[in-house]
Symmetry: C2
Amino acid sequence: MRLTAMTDYSLRLLMHVGQHGGRLCTIAEIAQVYGISEAHLMKITHQLALAGFLETLRGRGGGMRLARPAAEIRIGDVVRAMEPDFAVVECFATGNVCTLSGQCRLTGVLHGSLAAFMENLDRYTLADILEPLPAALPLGAQPIVFKARGSHAK
Amino acid sequence: MRLTAMTDYSLRLLMHVGQHGGRLCTIAEIAQVYGISEAHLMKITHQLALAGFLETLRGRGGGMRLARPAAEIRIGDVVRAMEPDFAVVECFATGNVCTLSGQCRLTGVLHGSLAAFMENLDRYTLADILEPLPAALPLGAQPIVFKARGSHAK
């Protein structure tokens, strides 16, 4: 029962970029922070940009930042944009050969569960899951101090 | 976003066995109906028997049947018994190396979604998803004709 690694990495990439406010983040930096290959991250960045979540600037001094405020990026929408399919079981995908097709009540139950999964994701935006940048984070860059939020203030 | 093939096949196997009431079903028969290898089905049958969903009888004339009424087999429990883990994303599994660990709000959101998925599955039992045995089903047995239903009637 899992999401693809691409979706997983996408969410972490967006969290990283979101945590750094408007600063342009680089693939090299994110690769280092999460231990994900740059090749993977390039593919993910491209897909997230196409889906309208990221804005990328090429060239020296370039990088990526959120294309819209974190509060307008729903987690469910990111998952929808990145998952190749929602074939919880084989028969949801094409090429289904199960003899139960067309009269199988299990698919209805699983579709309902998938909908419940996505509905919960849709209750949250990227802003909801962003944490203040921890002191030990990346690249020896100047730590950026964020406004403390609610009970997470230290 | 998917369940393992083992869980998928387990559910179909239970549906097949459940559809045949108390008759002993064989692995060869189920392999034929669903086009799943007998080796896979032996493993699945063993696991379902260990989990208390199936009763198996060895030897000539042997086979498997439900160990309890279909109405007492919750879909969620079958999925729990068969899924190797519920690592929706990598960091739910062991060996997590993500630098966000311990301060990542995404995990909470995903755990909530997983709980919603399972809660929906727990609303149904095997009895809820059993269909009357379709006409074209197994083993060249005498076709059984069912009442046509709605727009699926031909």
